[in-house]
């Protein structure tokens, strides 16, 4: 039996979604002439500014396209569902946003994305546009600390992209924006939990199974298996397991400040995310650190997967300033 979706032909889902997005947000977004899968910020890209290009597979909305706009990303290259975009849209993004100060690619650390964006970067080099790359690796569950370079990028993208986008918006040079992006990535930690599978529009089959009553901690945002499966626990226990792991990675000192994202994977109601946030904030207070800002909602999803993730960004003066800097995206605003 097919999973329930409000779609037409599953193979058209991504392109129809992008049409719907441009119809709703044409004031801030447009498609590139060269590629319908390259979505460009109408305001943002400008001469002398480092261009920030993000991207990855579809199915994580509002990531990535929702974070394109003034003060954040200048463009996003959009792939098929859970599939890296090919080099062409990424290259189209580069050409559209390049303001002479170079371009930074930022995306989650997945084999496919690395290969495709690297090919795009090689092509850009042929046009004498300097492209640097910073991979996000915030998913602490995706590899042990001694293999940090194997970790995946998940909901923490939200903070990492935001910091880099703000740095570029401050007209810092490529060197500096890259440095800040790496710094932001190094200080951002995410743990996720999944309660149900999701299904691709093209297959309409559950992409894995998670039996009644069970949850999986550390599951990837594409349904990649996680680190521990077991019976669903109370919210406070789930959050405690996440926070223990996050605190374990982050060596915060008394009085340090953090930014928090309690993120829904798609099918989990705000009620549950805010219940989680209550515990997250209690744990942060117990740790003797304080929360500078909190976001709660669906920021990095996995289609209709039920579950959530908690991201903590360990702030310093620079990161706090960059996170607070206004931005205007179709699906996210800081004022």
């Amino acid at each position: 039996m097919q999973t329930k979706k409000i779609i037409n032909d599953g193979d058209d889902a991504v392109d129809e979604m992008l049409d719907g997005i441009l119809l709703a947000h044409g004031d801030t977004l447009r498609a590139s002439e060269d590629s319908g899968r390259a979505i460009i910020a109408r305001h943002g890209p400008r001469a002398g500014k480092v261009g920030l290009v993000i991207g990855g597979g579809s199915g994580h909305e509002p990531t990535f396209v929702g974070f394109v706009g003034q003060g954040l990303a200048d463009a996003a290259a959009i792939g098929n569902v859970f599939a890296s975009p090919p080099p062409d849209p990424a290259l189209a993004c580069v050409k559209e946003v390049s303001g002479g100060a170079g371009v930074l690619f930022m995306y989650g650390n997945y084999a496919g994305d690395v290969m495709n964006f690297d090919m795009a970067a090689e092509m850009a080099a042929m046009d004498d546009i300097e492209v640097r790359t910073v991979l996000t690796t915030d998913d602490v569950a995706s590899a042990p600390r001694d293999e940090i370079e194997k970790r995946r990028g998940v909901a923490g993208n939200f903070f990492i992209f935001k910091a880099a986008g703000a740095a570029a918006d401050e007209m810092r040079d490529l060197e500096e924006v890259e440095r800040i992006a790496r710094h932001a990535n190094a200080r951002t930690y995410t743990m996720g939990v999944a309660l149900s599978p999701c299904s691709l529009p093209q297959t309409r089959r559950w992409n894995f199974d998670l039996p009644e009553g069970e949850m999986e901690i550390g599951m990837g945002i594409h349904g990649e298996p996680g680190i521990e499966r077991g019976p669903i626990k109370p919210a406070d226990q789930i959050v405690d397991e996440m926070m223990d792991r996050i605190f374990d990675e982050m060596d915060a000192e008394q009085g340090d400040r953090v930014a928090v994202l309690v993120n829904g994977l798609g099918a989990t109601p705000l009620m549950e995310l805010y219940i989680m946030n209550k515990r997250v904030q209690a744990r942060i207070e117990d740790a003797g650190i304080s929360t500078h800002a909190t976001w709660v909602g669906n920021y990095c999803t996995s289609l209709e997967m039920a579950g959530a993730s908690v991201t903590v960004m360990h702030l310093d003066e620079t990161l706090q300033r960059l996170i607070d800097r206004p931005c205007h995206c179709a699906m996210f605003r800081v004022v």
């Binding site: 859970f82 890296s84 090919p86 062409d88 496919g112 297959t203 089959r205 990837g220 594409h222 990649e224």
Partner: protein, 207 residues
């Protein structure tokens, strides 16, 4: 064997990928993100369309067209890997209007090298290279025999290689995070590779 035979081979591969779409998605679901079948059938579907209106072409053109079509339709991991494989194949027979039996092992090896170059995988990493590597060796060993025979040898080696991936721990790709948990599951990319080669061999036999 001319451009049309290459086209026929690719069309046969495309049909095979359509048939295997759900099976490959299910395999990918066990250790990856459940979309490998979508990627392969989508990629070869794009090849089907692209080579349809490609007349009076030489084999290299067909391979290059296939490379571009697959890459832009798919992205993902398989996109760059197969795009590079096809570009290398095109380069291997550059300038030739006709390909004879002796060229076929070189074609298979070129594809395997393209995948190895692009993906930087090592044998035993539990990737499609664990099918393409053995396929390349078998094809080389079969050099001198008829094209279909060479391709069947490659296909059989690829199938054996794909089976063997079930006993490997993933080191690359989405499955890598699984470590030991990836044991017992065949790698989807290696599995599709074996299917491709088999379909190509069959079509060569007919044509």
């Amino acid at each position: 064997m001319d451009a049309n035979d290459i086209k026929a081979m690719l069309l046969a591969a495309a049909d095979a990928m359509d048939d295997a779409r759900d099976e490959l998605c299910a395999l990918d679901g066990e250790i990856g993100d459940a979309d490998h079948g979508v990627a392969m059938s989508g990629g070869f579907g794009a090849i089907r369309t692209a080579i349809a209106d490609l007349d009076g072409a030489v084999p290299t053109d067909v391979f290059n067209t296939a490379a571009k079509a697959f890459l832009n339709a798919v992205g993902a991991s398989s996109g760059p890997l197969y795009a590079t494989a096809f570009m290398r194949a095109g380069a291997a027979v550059k300038g030739k209007k006709q390909i004879d039996d002796a060229d076929v092992p070189g074609l298979v090896s070129a594809m395997a090298e393209g995948i190895a170059h692009r993906g930087k995988a090592a044998p035993g990493d539990k990737t499609m290279l664990d099918a393409w590597g053995p396929a390349s060796d078998a094809a080389t060993a079969a050099k001198g025999q008829r094209a279909a025979v060479v391709l069947y040898a490659a296909a059989d080696a690829a199938a054996a290689g794909a089976e063997a991936t079930a006993g490997m721990q993933a080191k690359l790709g989405r499955a890598a995070r699984l470590g030991a948990r990836s044991l017992g599951h065949k790698d989807p990319g290696a599995t599709s590779a074996a299917m491709l080669l088999k379909a190509m061999a069959k079509s060569m036999e007919k044509g």
